[in-house]
């Protein structure tokens, strides 16, 4: 047997997460209602150990499973980030889940499986693997969105997400099959070699790329494939929204990177053009429609659409620098979204989701520290220096200008200005409006409070000292092209 080709040790973090997900599932069956903390602590431990395992792989490169698994700096770094983000999600949401009788082993297991899907996506070097990883991630998320069965809005959101997600998967799969038909292989590196002969002036390739980009755009939540996003964000329990807004963004960037850069860089002239269209539509829709929202989760959903537009600016640049800035943006956005939704989770209590913008009225009077953190988060989302959000936008715009997309950059900056409006409106409500007397926030979870503090302050401190994070993210994309 060709044991050497397995190299299964490269996939130890994935194997660990899978094994521990099964362990959590089993343990949860045997422990009673009272000892749910066992499953919770076990999940946290799983994530911590996974981070350690991934960290220990840093610097190794190679292929495993007959070229289907690719370990490179990007794999390690992106995996590390998604594990860290999953850890944040879990640590934010204990009280929230407890209060809504969602504190169940299945939630943790599904979360771990979704993470596993993300990890598989990140390391996939084969169209089949990428598709399976994507489905694993998506399926777990569908279930998580609809997990609150009694909640009509949640089930509706789950169903919509499921149907539309299936449609998007079909588009993606169709694109993959065309690509396979064109090149005769599923292996991305062989596809890259085969595409050299095909050239970008091939209608079949164009068709394939259009379908692939449409599928990826859906998963990113880029307009006009974003319709599911606000409903799903709003309907899902907030910790699930927290997860959806962070981990998949990095995983889907990996999907893009693997298919269209590792495999399809020969078609850059095609997908770049498509992403320009997506950027324009996303920036307009995301930033303009967000203005009309009164629900914070919905507003943040549109902000995701807009931010995916900014991320795609780096993709449009298409250079080494541009892709690195896009990855950096994805990472930064994931942490900003985590902090934003984490704040909502933290403030909520039984029967009160703290998800309307008006729920934050006069937050500074009742919860000054939370209001301060909100200030940092919103400034970072709006891209105000010295927060890290500013730096992420700066990097993207710089790469774009370097690639001579001046007008697109100008357009992006203008849309960032429009975007600043609705972020600042949240701050206006929280800092300057009189607090309502009937509002009582939950805000009694010390774990979530400390994690939120660290997360938000990191947005500020990393903005002042961004060097290490930038170097880390840019190192991930080293040698991709």
């Amino acid at each position: 047997m060709q044991n050497a080709l397995f190299h299964w040790s490269f996939a130890i973090p994935e194997i660990w997460v899978l094994a521990m997900a099964c362990v959590v599932l089993l343990v949860d069956v045997f422990v009673g209602e009272r000892q749910r903390d066992v499953a919770y602590v076990l999940s946290i431990f799983t994530l911590l150990a996974a981070m350690a395992l991934t960290w220990s792989q840093m610097g190794q490169t190679g292929f495993a499973f007959f070229g289907q698994f690719h370990l490179d700096p990007f794999t390690s770094i992106a995996s590390f980030f998604v594990e860290l983000l999953s850890l944040l999600v879990l640590s934010y949401s204990r009280k929230y889940l407890l209060r809504r009788s969602l504190y169940r082993g299945e939630v943790f297991v599904l979360l771990l499986f979704a993470l596993l899907g993300a990890l598989i996506l990140i390391s996939g070097a084969n169209l089949l693997i990428l598709y399976l990883g994507l489905e694993l991630l998506a399926l777990s998320q569908y279930a998580l969105v609809a997990f609150q069965r009694g909640n009509l809005r949640a089930t509706e959101a789950g169903l919509k997400y499921f149907i539309l997600g299936a449609l998007a998967s079909a588009l993606l799969l169709y694109g993959m099959s065309l690509l396979y038909g064109l090149t005769g292989t599923l292996d991305l590196h062989q596809i890259a070699i085969a595409l050299v002969n095909v050239g970008s002036a091939n209608y079949l390739l164009m068709l394939a790329v259009v379908f692939l980009v449409a599928g990826i755009a859906f998963k990113f939540g880029a307009a006009p494939f974003h319709m599911w996003l606000p409903d799903a964000y709003q309907g899902a329990p907030t910790p699930v929204t927290l997860f959806m807004s962070s981990v998949p963004k990095i995983a889907i960037f990996a999907l893009f990177l693997r298919i269209l850069v590792d495999g399809g860089y020969g078609s850059i002239e095609i997908w770049r053009q498509l992403f320009v269209a997506l950027v324009v539509v996303s920036l307009v829709i995301g930033n303009v429609v967000a203005i009309a929202q009164t629900n914070l989760k919905r507003m943040l959903a549109y902000s995701t659409v807009g931010n995916m537009g900014f991320l795609a600016l780096g993709i449009v640049a298409g250079t080494q620098n541009g892709l690195a800035s896009a990855f950096f943006y994805a990472v930064v956005y994931a942490f900003m979204a985590t902090a934003a939704f984490g704040l909502i989770v933290y403030l909520s209590r039984e029967g009160f989701e703290a998800e309307e913008i008006s729920d934050l009225r006069g937050l500074v009077r009742t919860r000054p520290w939370a209001a301060f953190l909100l200030l940092i988060i919103m400034f970072s989302l709006a891209g105000v220096p010295p927060t890290i959000g500013f730096y992420a936008k700066l990097a993207v715009f710089q790469a774009l200008i370097e690639a001579h997309f001046i007008w697109l950059a100008v357009f992006g900056v203008l849309m960032a200005v429009v975007g600043a409006f609705y972020y600042l409106r949240v701050l206006k409500v929280a800092l300057f409006d009189a607090p309502a007397e009937d509002l009582a926030y939950g805000a009694d979870d010390p774990l979530a409070a400390s994690v939120l503090t660290v997360n938000s302050l990191a947005l500020l401190i990393l903005g002042i000292v961004p060097g290490a994070l930038v170097a880390f993210c840019y190192h991930a994309l080293q040698g991709v092209l």
């Binding site: 169940r104 399976l132 694993l136 279930a143």
Partner: protein, 199 residues
Amino acid sequence: MMLTTTILFYVFSAILLVSALLVITARNPVYSALYLVLAFFNAAALFLLLGAEFLGLILILVYVGAVMVLFLFVVMMLDINLERLKEGFLRYLPLGLAIAIVGVLEMVAVFWTAPIGRVPAPGPIPANADNTRALGELLYTHYLYPFEIAAVILLVAIIAAIALTLRRRPDTKSQAVGKQVAVAVRERLRMVDLRGPKP
């Protein structure tokens, strides 16, 4: 030998076609389902004739054993109004016909252009050929990784389906297996005095 195979092929094919037709025309959906089972059996037999024993067995196991049985359950448990199902028949007939015609045309086009005859016939099958083994070897080496992921996806589907649909209502009667196993001898029999109070 060759002749037997040919005869068997035509027999199975004929039954397959007839039962497939009956699936559509049967008035009772239970009959339709049973005819479909018959069709599957014959298709499996055709696979066996071709030497693809793995596919044949899988077809019976999965489609007959699992899918169709489930289908039958659903058909029998749900109260389906046959008359109402029939109502739409004429309304959707033109659409159905159009789709059928397109399908036929497509097949004609494929056969017209397909390189039939130009493809060399497959060589003789070695005597000890065992495609179950061959598939298994491939599946557990080269395709181990996607195979495992697919398994995980199925697991997630199971967990999700159970988590989303299983509801524990306190008023439903159900077996408590744990209690059954853990029962003590003394609890198995309870003496009840039926004589009632003395007058």
